[in-house]
């Protein structure tokens, strides 16, 4: 009946982002949402699954669903010889891995540099992005993990499993 210990104080950790690269994009998700990073994994494909679902992997006995972030964000597919990296996240108690090109550092960001995504962005992509931090060198986009992982028939998002 207890919710477990996932409810860390978000306000103090919101400013730490786990970053990764995907084609031209520099992306980040809240560091508390990332469980681990896998450099390689044996993916089992799931026929008839949504196009963005790469497949399933065995995460120490748990079945984790893999989402190809490139396809999810509508970026051109990666080169065939590029091995994607799995960023393992937990949403609603289920492990989901995001396939990215490369993993960066955990970055401290200044809330003052935060801005919501511009309305000119492709609406489909814009929906998946919470906002951007204007770093000195480039823009760091923050992903909306809940929306990213809501795929599948009927939008897929069904609240917490009981």
């Amino acid at each position: 009946m207890t919710k477990g210990n996932q409810m860390l104080d978000v306000s103090t950790t919101l400013n730490q982002l786990c970053t990764f690269r995907l084609g031209p994009l520099y992306l980040g998700i809240n560091v508390t949402e990332v469980r681990e990073v896998l450099l390689q994994a044996d993916v089992t494909t799931v026929p008839h699954a949504d196009d963005v679902i790469e497949g399933l992997i065995n995460l120490r006995g748990q079945i984790a669903t893999c989402i190809d972030l490139r396809r999810r964000l509508g970026i051109e597919p990666r080169e065939p010889d590029m091995v994607p990296i799995h960023v393992v996240t937990m949403t609603d108690g289920e492990p989901v891995t995001l396939l990215v090109d490369a993993v960066g550092d955990v970055v401290d960001v200044d809330p003052d540099t935060y801005e919501t995504p511009p309305t000119t962005m492709d609406p489909n992509t814009r929906e998946l992005i919470l906002g951007a931090y204007k770093l000195d060198t480039e823009l760091l986009l923050v992903l909306d993990l809940d929306k990213i992982t809501s795929v599948g028939p009927g939008g897929g998002h069904k609240g917490e499993p009981s």
């Binding site: 009946m1 207890t2 044996d42 089992t44 494909t45 799931v46 026929p47 008839h48 699954a49 949504d50 679902i53 399933l56 992997i57 065995n58 120490r60 006995g61 748990q62 079945i63 984790a64 669903t65 989402i67 609603d92 289920e94 492990p95 989901v96 992982t149 809501s150 795929v151 599948g152 028939p153 009927g154 897929g156 998002h157 069904k158 499993p161």
Partner: protein, 847 residues
């Protein structure tokens, strides 16, 4: 939810379950004071805790029930069905309030007045007065003021509960009384705080007492509590013991004549029972699930290590890996066991259900249980709860007769409902049988027709068992007539679906006048199931073994044994029956491949049998079922996933989903449903000339036709019949097929066209001409062995199943009404003229 409240709920539900059972037992043996006390205690605890949590209505209700119970306990009243009813009703209401609390953490505004008044009325004023006095006799006087509740806001005397707890069995009572003090009166804060302290103090003392190594002191307590011995007597006995008396305290008491031997024994038994309760703890199921997962993972690691250890030079890895192996297996078994619960957890509720229902219906039913301790995974226990209850309700309602009827039938007035559970090869069998009136197959069939579940025509073709099985059909629920008795609008079809959902089966056997038996077979656990692992397109898939019928392998160069194409639908002839074939590659969206040999997995989903072509068949394995993530769990084809020995994932096929994706579950199309495919190519010699197809004409008449002549068996709705050029035709496979009403054509009086909603048709080919022979029923296929030839060689009459049957010559029958084209390349069918077709073919009723 507040942890205290949730704990209270869990404990109260458990307590109520116990009370339910106890009340039933009590009704049978009203003098069992031990049980009365147990009920009293449980209710008391609930009352106490809810007072403490501020659920005043619940408290009031519990108090009223407790009051009545105390009278029973003290022998002021004796148990009667009326009292039992009232108490059970009270328990029901308490349950209702608990459910409200569970949902909203508030007790809401339940109407408890009626039941409270009922309870109070049963406890007559005189008796009630006596009850008031009772606690004073049993408990130390100090407890009395708090016991009545009103003064409860005052913090209890810190010592009193603790003292009481160690002092005697009245402690339980007193503790609860203390807690029941109404916190809303006076300074709630202080009151509540005081009570918490008091409670904890008492609990500690209680526990300390329980754990006291000096078991005899507890026995003494129990004796005092049971009124079997005086406190002073026990104290004296304890003192004697401490002075070096080696005898047990009970024995001292008995020897000194201060207690009855029987009562001492009883107390000792109670003591034993309590210590069992102390030896178990509550564990969160989520934690067990996690453990289960981890153990599964450990098993995989172990497998890998064993693999390593067996690879030649292993640097001394052998013995430790052996040990790891053993420990892992044992651990796995142990963790599995933690999830197992005796089936009694569900059964325990049934006597109450039966009691209420049989009283309501004026029946007399005795419940007997065999194999209560049979263990099942808790998820399965959950899943069978409703189906079981439903079957039991149905049995009491429809199965068991009223006492009068039973007496008239020469049976004992009391009906018997027998529940039996046992393990059998990784499965659990549950039987629910009664000695009631059994089911009337014809009545069920009529009812089913009335409700439009089946057509009379379908019924006519059914065996008795099939008719009885109609109760499992959706839409067939006899519940409507009996309103709330046999369930809340749920039919037996739901029972069947629910059982099948967890990979089980329901069977039904009934004999009129003797009784009915439902037999449920379910897997031991849902978490681990036996499965067949197959591969397709480089992925492995698991097929639950329950769905598996057999495996067939076809070699590419085998001419006779091959998959045939039935108008675009691949089929395979499996022992004369037509098996629809589904290629797993098609279903998975993979490319088709040419296969050297074809592996067909013959499966059953729902009531449909079909063959699934896979690339290869790997092995059978016990697999651990894991849920899919929400991104993929809605896919029809898969029921879950599992992790194979090598750590890779295999998806578990959901055969119901697969069958519906492959459109196997759809009923007949406009072309009619192919019931049977006899011979597709005329030169085939698969079927013996002597194999006959037995056809029914009207009620009794039957004829046979050599199966070799039969192309196919079809079934058309009567609405599909059309008239064209004065003959009856039906559109069949893109062509027009003339139909011949067989009965009038060969001299019988009835007509297949008039009497049936669905018309059974025997399709025969005569060169390019395809003709359908309409009959009332297709009865059977009779093999050579069953045919006893008699008569002459040219007039064909045989004896089938001790009945003389004419064998008709299809060619002569058809040629009597239609010109049969002799050469193979006749003009197309539509152009053929049938002018000479006469009244032998009447107009169809539906057209």
């Amino acid at each position: 939810m507040d942890e205290i409240i949730s704990e209270f709920l869990v404990e109260s539900y458990e307590g109520l379950d116990q009370i339910d059972q106890n009340l039933i037992v009590l009704e049978e043996s009203p003098d069992d004071v031990g049980i009365l006390k147990e009920i009293f205690r449980t209710l008391h605890t609930i009352k106490g805790t809810c007072g403490f949590l501020g659920f005043s209505k619940l408290e009031r209700l519990a108090h009223a029930a407790e009051n009545l119970l105390s009278l029973l306990r003290d022998g002021e009243l004796s148990m009667s069905a009326e009292i039992a009813d009232a108490l059970l009703a009270a328990v029901g209401d308490i349950r209702g309030i608990l459910a409200t609390i569970e949902a909203s953490e508030e007790e809401g505004d339940p109407d408890i007045e009626a039941i409270v008044v009922r309870l109070d009325a049963l406890a007559s004023p005189d008796a009630a007065k006596a009850a008031e006095a009772t606690p004073t006799e049993d408990a130390p006087a100090g407890a009395e003021p708090t016991a009545d509740g009103d003064a409860g806001a005052a913090a209890p005397d810190a010592e009193a509960p603790a003292e009481a707890a160690t002092a005697d069995g009245g402690a339980d009572e007193q503790l609860a009384e203390t807690a029941s003090a109404d916190p809303s009166a006076g300074d709630a804060e202080t009151g509540a705080a005081g009570e918490i302290d008091g409670t904890i103090g008492a609990t500690d003392a209680d526990e300390a007492d329980d754990r006291d190594d000096d078991a005899d002191a507890r026995l003494g307590d129990l004796l005092v509590e049971a009124g079997a011995a005086g406190r002073t007597d026990v104290e004296i006995a304890a003192a004697e013991q401490s002075l070096g008396d080696q005898r047990e305290i009970g024995k001292i008491l008995v020897d000194d004549g201060r207690a009855e031997a029987k009562e001492v024994e009883e107390a000792a038994a109670t003591q034993q029972k309590r210590s069992v309760a102390d030896s178990s703890i509550r564990v969160d199921v989520a934690l067990l699930d996690r453990l289960m997962n981890l153990v599964g993972e450990l098993v995989l690691s172990r497998n890998q290590i064993i693999q390593l250890a067996s690879d030649g030079d292993n640097g001394g890895l052998g013995p430790p890996s052996q040990r790891l192996n053993l420990i892992t297996s044992e651990l796995q078994e142990g963790v599995m066991k933690t999830r197992m619960q005796p089936i009694n957890n569900v059964w325990a509720k049934l006597p109450r259900v039966v009691r209420d229902l049989s009283r309501q219906l004026g029946k007399n039913v005795h419940v007997e249980m065999i194999g209560k301790e049979t263990e099942l995974d808790r998820t399965i226990i959950e899943a069978i709860k409703d189906p079981l209850t439903h079957i039991v309700r149905n049995t009491v309602d429809h199965g068991i007769e009223s006492p009068e009827e039973r007496a008239a039938a020469g049976k004992p007035e009391e009906g018997l409902l027998l529940l039996r559970a046992s393990h059998e090869g990784g499965q659990v069998n549950i039987e629910i049988s009664d000695d009631g009136k059994g089911m009337d197959a014809d009545r069920l069939a009529n009812l089913a027709v009335e409700k439009g579940v089946v057509t009379p025509e379908q019924v006519a073709r059914m065996s008795e068992q099939e008719m009885v099985n109609l109760i499992f059909k959706p839409g067939f629920s006899t519940a409507k007539q009996v309103s709330n008795v046999s369930g809340r609008g749920v039919g037996m079809d739901v029972v069947k679906t629910n059982v099948e959902r967890i990979g089980g089966t329901v069977d039904l056997k009934t004999e009129r006048g003797v009784g009915t038996t439902f037999k449920i077979k379910i897997p031991l656990t849902l978490a681990i199931i036996p499965a067949l692992v197959v591969s397709c397109d480089n992925n492995r898939y698991a097929i639950p073994q329950v769905n598996l019928l057999e495996l067939v392998r076809l070699e590419a160069d085998d001419e006779k044994n091959r998959i045939e194409d039935l108008h675009g639908a691949p089929v395979y002839r499996l022992r004369g029956r037509l098996l629809p074939i589904v290629d797993l590659r098609d279903q998975l969206g993979s490319e088709r491949v040419e296969r050297e040999s074809t592996n067909i997995v013959v499966l059953r989903a729902d009531d449909h049998t079909f063959g699934l072509i896979v690339d290869s068949i790997e092995d059978t394995e016990e697999i651990v079922v894991k849920p899919l993530g929400r991104q993929v769990k809605d896919l029809n084809l898969f029921a879950g996933a599992t992790i194979m020995g090598d750590g890779r994932i295999a998806l578990i096929l959901d055969l119901m989903g697969l069958a519906s994706e492959a459109r196997l579950l759809e009923a007949g199309t406009t072309e009619g449903k192919t019931v049977f495919d006899g011979v597709t190519d005329s030169h085939s010699t698969v079927l013996d000339d002597r194999t006959l197809l037995l056809l029914g004409l009207g009620e009794q008449d039957r004829v046979a036709i050599p199966l070799a002549r039969v192309e196919r068996l079809e079934e058309f709705p009567s609405t599909a019949l059309e008239r064209s050029d004065r003959r009856t035709v039906v559109q069949y496979r893109g062509k027009i097929m003339p139909l011949i009403d067989l009965a009038p054509t060969i001299g019988y009086t009835n007509s297949a066209f008039y009497d049936n909603d669905r018309i059974s048709v025997v399709v025969c080919n005569f060169g390019s001409l395809t003709v359908g022979l309409a009959v009332d029923a297709i009865l059977d296929i009779v093999s050579h062995a069953e045919v006893l030839e008699n008569v002459s060689d040219d007039f064909e009459t045989v004896v089938i199943n001790e009945q003389v049957t004419d064998v008709i010559d299809a060619t002569s029958v058809v040629s009597s009404v239609l010109p049969i084209p002799i050469p193979q390349d006749e003009p197309p069918l539509a152009a053929t003229s049938f002018d000479d077709l006469d009244s032998a073919v009447p107009a169809p009723t539906g057209a």
